[in-house]
C-alpha cells in the first residue's frame, strides 16, 4: 500500500481533490514540467528567429510576445514555484517526521491558484489584442500604453502570487509546529532549512508584487497615474516595487535548489555535510540580505549616486554566503567515498554552472562594468546560468534523486548520464555565447541583430537546439520509467534522512509511528550501508 493506491477517491478526482501533500507535489510536478516544455519550445523558436534574420520566420510583434511569454512561464510558473512546490510539498513533511503539512486544504488551494493563474495567462495569449509584448518585467509606462493584452496577463501573475504565499505560509507553520519529537532546529535536514528561508520571502515579499501588478491594471483600466509620468506618476517607482519583490524572488528560486544539492552531495560522498550551521544560517543570511539589493537592477535608471553606492556594496556582501555554500559543498567531497551516479552528476553540474552564474553576477555588481552590461545579452546569459544552470539543474538533480522514492520506479541511469552530455554542451554554447555577445553590446529583447553579432548568435542557436534535444531525452527517460521501470528499492542511494527510512513509494500517512530523533542528520555509517 502506498499513497499512490490508497485513498477514498478513484481516478482523476483522487488527484485533483486530494489534500495529501505527496499528491499535491506530484500535481505540481506534472503541471510545471508541461509548462516548462512549452516555454522551452518558445525558446527554440526565438533561437530560430535569430538564425533567420534575413528572411524572418516570425513578425517582430510575435517575437516580442515570445520573449514575454517565455519569461512569464519560466519565471512565474516553473522556477518560482520550483523545488518548494514539488519536492518541498512532497518531502518536507517526511523529512521532519510529519504526516502532512499544517494546512493540507490550503495546500490544495495553492495548486488551484497556480492553475487559475496559468489559465489567465494562457487566456491573455488568445483573447483581446494579442499576447503581452512588454517582457516579463512589465516596465511602466510601456506596460501602461501597450495595446496588447497586458492587463489579463498581469492579473494571471497576480493570482499566481497567492499560490506562492500559501505554500510559504504552510511551510513556516509546518516547520515550526510539526517537527517530530526530538528534531531540534539543528537536527533538521538542510533542505528544510532552505525551504524555511524561502518561505519567509514568499510570505513577506509576494504581497508587494501583488499590489504593484494591481496598480498596473488599475492604471490601464481607470487611468490613475501612479506610474505614468504624463499624469505626474513615477516610472521608477514601478521598477523599485517590481524589484523589491523580484530580486528576493531570485532567492526563492535558488535557495531550495541549494538545499536539494546539500542533501544529494553527502549521500553520494557518504559523509556528513561540511559546516552544517554555516549552510543553515547562510540560507537565512541570503534570504535577509537578498531583500536589500533590488536596486542593482537599476544602476542605469538615473537613481541617485548614493543609492547606487549602497546597492552595489550590498550586492557584493550577499555574494559572501553564496560563496560559502560553494566551499562547503566542495569540502564535503574531501575524504568522502564518492560515487557519481546520475543525481550526483547533475548536482556537481549545478555547482559548476551556478558558480559561473555567481561570478558573472560579481561582474555586473561592479558599477562601472554594469554600465556596459546592463540590459544586454550578458544579463540574459548570467541569469540563465543562475536560474537554469542553478535552479533548473538543481531541479533535475532533485528529480533524479527522489524520483524512485516518489514513484517507486527506477529509471535508466545510463540514459540519464547520456542526456547530460547534450544538456551540458548545449547549455554552455548557448549561454556562454550570450555572455560574450552581451559584452560586445548585443541588447536583449531584439528580434534581429547587427552583423557584428552574427557569429555569436549562430553558436547560441546551435547550442540551444542541442540543449533542447538533451532535455527531451532527460524527461523521456523518466516517462518511460514510470511505465516500465523496475520496482525501486526503499533506499537506492544509501541516504540517511527520514524519507529513506519509510517504504517506497511512501504510504499515505508517511509514518505508522512518528519517529523520535536523537541525533544530527547526515550520520552515515562509514563502513558503508
Amino acid at each position: 500500500m502506498s499513497y499512490l493506491t490508497e485513498g477514498r477517491r478513484k481516478g482523476i478526482r483522487s488527484w485533483i481533490l486530494s489534500t495529501d501533500h505527496k499528491r499535491i507535489g506530484v500535481l505540481y510536478l506534472v503541471s510545471m514540467v508541461s509548462l516548462f516544455f512549452i516555454a522551452v519550445l518558445i525558446g527554440v523558436l526565438m533561437r530560430i528567429e535569430q538564425l533567420t534574420i534575413e528572411t524572418p520566420m516570425f513578425e517582430p510583434q510575435t517575437y516580442n510576445a515570445f520573449f514575454t511569454v517565455h519569461g512569464v512561464i519560466m519565471i512565474f510558473m516553473f522556477v518560482l514555484p520550483g523545488l518548494p512546490a514539488v519536492f518541498g510539498n512532497f518531502f518536507l513533511p517526511i523529512m521532519i517526521g510529519a504526516k502532512d503539512v499544517s494546512f493540507p486544504r490550503l495546500n490544495l488551494l495553492s495548486w488551484y491558484f497556480f492553475i487559475a493563474g496559468t489559465g489567465l495567462v494562457v487566456a491573455s495569449l488568445f483573447t483581446g489584442a494579442g499576447p503581452p509584448d512588454t517582457g516579463w518585467t512589465f516596465y511602466a509606462p510601456f506596460s501602461l500604453t501597450s495595446g496588447t493584452n497586458v492587463s489579463l496577463g498581469v492579473f494571471g501573475a497576480f493570482v499566481l502570487g497567492f499560490s506562492s504565499i500559501l505554500t510559504g505560509l504552510n511551510f513556516i507553520t509546518t516547520i515550526h509546529r510539526l517537527r517530530a519529537p526530538g528534531m531540534k532546529w539543528h537536527r533538521m535536514p538542510l533542505f528544510a532549512w532552505s525551504l524555511y528561508g524561502t518561505a519567509w520571502i514568499q510570505v513577506l515579499a509576494t504581497p508587494i508584487i501583488g499590489i504593484t501588478l494591481l496598480l498596473v491594471i488599475a492604471e490601464r483600466l481607470f487611468g490613475i497615474g501612479v506610474f505614468d509620468p504624463a499624469k505626474g506618476g513615477d516610472p521608477l517607482l514601478y521598477q523599485h516595487l517590481f524589484w523589491i519583490y523580484s530580486h528576493p524572488a531570485v532567492y526563492i528560486m535558488i535557495l531550495p535548489a541549494m538545499g536539494a544539492i546539500t542533501e544529494i552531495i553527502p549521500t553520494f560522498a557518504r559523509k556528513t555535510i561540511f559546516g552544517y550551521k554555516a549552510i543553515a544560517y547562510s540560507s537565512l543570511a541570503i534570504a535577509f540580505l537578498g531583500s536589500l539589493v533590488w536596486g542593482h537592477h537599476m544602476f542605469t535608471s538615473g537613481m541617485s549616486e548614493k543609492a547606487n553606492l549602497v546597492f552595489s556594496l550590498l550586492t557584493f556582501i550577499v555574494a559572501v554566503p553564496s560563496a560559502i555554500k560553494v566551499f562547503n559543498w566542495t569540502a564535503t567531497l574531501y575524504k568522502g567515498s564518492i560515487e557519481v551516479r546520475p543525481p550526483m552528476l547533475y548536482a556537481l553540474t549545478f555547482v559548476f554552472l551556478f558558480a559561473i552564474g555567481g561570478l558573472t553576477g560579481l561582474m555586473q555588481g561592479a558599477l562601472a562594468v554594469n554600465v556596459q552590461l546592463h540590459d544586454t545579452y550578458f544579463i540574459v546569459g548570467h541569469f540563465h546560468y543562475v536560474m537554469f544552470g542553478g535552479t533548473g539543474m538543481g531541479f533535475f538533480a532533485a528529480l533524479l534523486y527522489w524520483f524512485p522514492k516518489m514513484f517507486g520506479k527506477t529509471y535508466n541511469e545510463k540514459i540519464a548520464v547520456f542526456a547530460w552530455v547534450p544538456i551540458f554542451i548545449g547549455f554552455n554554447m548557448l549561454y556562454f555565447a550570450m555572455l560574450v555577445l552581451g559584452y560586445m553590446g548585443m541588447p536583449r529583447r531584439y528580434f534581429t541583430h547587427l552583423p557584428q553579432y552574427r557569429t555569436g548568435h549562430i553558436i547560441a542557436s546551435i547550442g540551444g537546439f542541442i540543449l533542447a534535444v538533451g532535455l527531451v531525452m532527460f524527461f523521456a527517460n523518466l516517462v518511460v520509467a514510470l511505465k516500465r521501470g523496475r520496482k525501486a528499492e526503499q533506499n537506492p542511494w544509501g541516504g540517511v534522512t527520514l524519507e529513506w527510512k519509510i517504504p517506497t513509494p511512501p504510504p499515505l500517512e508517511n509514518f505508522s509511528i512518528i519517529p523520535r530523533i536523537d541525533d544530527r542528520p547526515y550520520r552515515f555509517n562509514p563502513e558503508g550501508s
Binding site: 517582430p60 510583434q61 516580442n64 483581446g128 489584442a129 509584448d133 516596465y139 509606462p141 500604453t145 501597450s146 495595446g147 509620468p229 504624463a230 506618476g233 513615477d234 516610472p235 561540511f274 552544517y276 554555516a278 542605469t300 535608471s301 538615473g302 549616486e305 552595489s312 556594496l313 556582501i317 560559502i324 566542495t330 567531497l333 574531501y334 575524504k335 568522502g336 567515498s337 564518492i338 559548476f352 558558480a355 559561473i356 561570478l359 558573472t360 560579481l362 561582474m363 555588481g365 561592479a366 558599477l367 562601472a368 562594468v369 554600465v371 546592463h374 540590459d375 559584452y439 553590446g441 541588447p443 536583449r444 529583447r445 528580434f447 541583430h449 557584428q452 562509514p526 563502513e527 558503508g528
Partner: protein
C-alpha cells in the same frame, strides 16, 4: 578586451575593472573545477571505500569567509571609483540634448542645430541630456561603454569624450515596442575642424524624424506634410506605398480593409473621412489586421486633423 573598440574616455576604465574581476573569477573557477574533479577521482568509492566524517573546521571556514569578503570589497571599490569618473561631467563638456521616441533618436546641439546622427568632435567631452517623448528607452553606445536609461518625466545624463574617429552604433536597450530592435542610430566621430564646419555650416537644419523623401511639388506643398513630419507620423507611415511600422498612406482612401476591435473580432470597413479621424484620434479602438497595435495617441487640432484627412484622401 579587443572584441569591441575602446572608443571613448570611459572605455578603457570599464574594461580594466572588468578585466580585474574577470581574472579573479577565472582563477577561482579553474581552482573550483579542479578541486571538484580531483576529489571525485581521488576519493572515488572504489579507491576510497571508507569516508572520513568531517563536520567542519573553524579555521578553514573563517578563512574562506574573510578572503572572499576582502576580494569582493576590492571589486566593489574599483567598480565604484571608475563609475564616479563616469558620472562627474567635466565643466567644458558640450551639452547635447538627446530625445528618444518610439523608435528613433534625435539630437539637439547648443546652437539649436538638430540631427538624427550624433556628430561628435574627437577628444572633446560631451554631456548628453536624455529625455523621452513616450516610454522608457535605453541609450547605449557599446564602443564607448556608456549607457543610461531615457525615462519619461525625468532628465538623465551621461558623458564621455570620444577618442577614436569613425562611426559607432547607438542602440536602445529597454524594450519599447514592436520596433525596439530598429531603434538604432550612429555616433559619428570626426576631427575637430570637420565638426566645426558642420556645426557652424548653414545648410538647412534638418528636423528630427525620418528625412522626407522627395515628393512631387503638388504633394510637398500640402500643409499636412509638415504636420505629419512634426508629429512623427512619418517614422511609421510612408507616402510611397511601402509599409513601415504602420501602413503607407498611399491609395488607402475608399479601399476596404479588415480591422480588429479591442476584443479581437474582425470586421470590414471602408476607409472614409470618419474612419480616418477615428484611426488617428483613437488608434487603439480598431487595429488594422496584420499590424501591431502600436500607434500612439497624438492630439491634433481640428485644423490639422482636417488637413491630414484631406491629404490622405488625395494621395493616390
Amino acid at each position: 578586451m579587443p572584441i569591441i573598440p575602446q572608443a571613448s574616455s570611459a572605455a578603457g576604465r570599464v574594461d580594466s575593472v572588468f578585466l580585474f574581476i574577470f581574472v579573479l573569477c577565472a582563477v577561482f573557477l579553474v581552482l573550483l573545477t579542479a578541486a571538484l574533479i580531483y576529489f571525485v577521482i581521488k576519493y572515488n568509492r572504489k579507491r576510497h571505500p571508507r569516508a572520513v566524517d568531517i563536520e567542519g573546521n573553524k579555521w578553514v571556514e573563517t578563512v574562506w569567509t574573510i578572503v572572499p569578503t576582502i576580494l569582493f570589497l576590492m571589486m566593489f571599490v574599483y567598480g565604484w571609483t571608475d563609475f564616479r569618473y563616469m558620472r562627474e561631467v567635466p565643466r567644458e563638456a558640450m551639452v547635447i540634448e538627446v530625445t528618444g521616441r518610439q523608435w528613433a533618436w534625435s539630437f539637439k546641439y547648443p546652437n539649436g542645430k538638430q540631427s538624427t546622427e550624433l556628430i561628435l568632435a574627437v577628444d572633446k567631452p560631451v554631456k548628453l541630456v536624455l529625455r523621452s517623448a513616450d516610454v522608457i528607452h535605453g541609450f547605449f553606445i557599446p564602443a564607448f561603454r556608456i549607457k543610461e536609461d531615457v525615462v519619461p518625466g525625468k532628465e538623465n545624463y551621461t558623458w564621455f569624450s570620444p577618442t577614436q574617429l569613425g562611426s559607432f552604433d547607438i542602440e536602445c536597450t529597454v524594450i519599447c515596442g514592436v520596433s525596439h530592435a530598429n531603434m538604432l542610430g550612429k555616433a559619428v566621430v570626426v576631427p575637430v575642424d570637420e565638426f566645426k564646419e558642420w556645426y557652424f555650416g548653414d545648410e538647412t537644419v534638418p528636423t528630427p524624424g525620418r528625412t522626407i523623401p522627395t515628393l512631387p511639388p503638388e504633394i510637398a506643398a500640402h500643409p499636412a506634410v509638415n504636420v505629419l513630419n512634426q508629429r512623427f507620423c512619418l517614422t511609421c507611415h510612408s507616402f510611397d506605398g511601402s509599409p513601415l511600422v504602420g501602413p503607407s498612406f498611399k491609395g488607402i482612401y475608399a479601399t476596404t480593409q479588415t480591422v480588429l476591435d479591442s476584443k479581437g473580432n474582425a470586421r470590414e470597413i471602408v476607409v472614409d473621412d470618419d474612419y480616418l479621424v477615428r484611426a488617428i484620434q483613437d488608434p487603439a479602438a480598431d487595429i488594422l489586421k496584420g499590424y501591431p497595435p502600436s500607434m500612439p495617441k497624438t492630439s491634433l487640432s481640428e485644423d490639422e486633423l482636417a488637413q491630414v484627412v484631406d491629404f490622405i484622401k488625395n494621395l493616390k
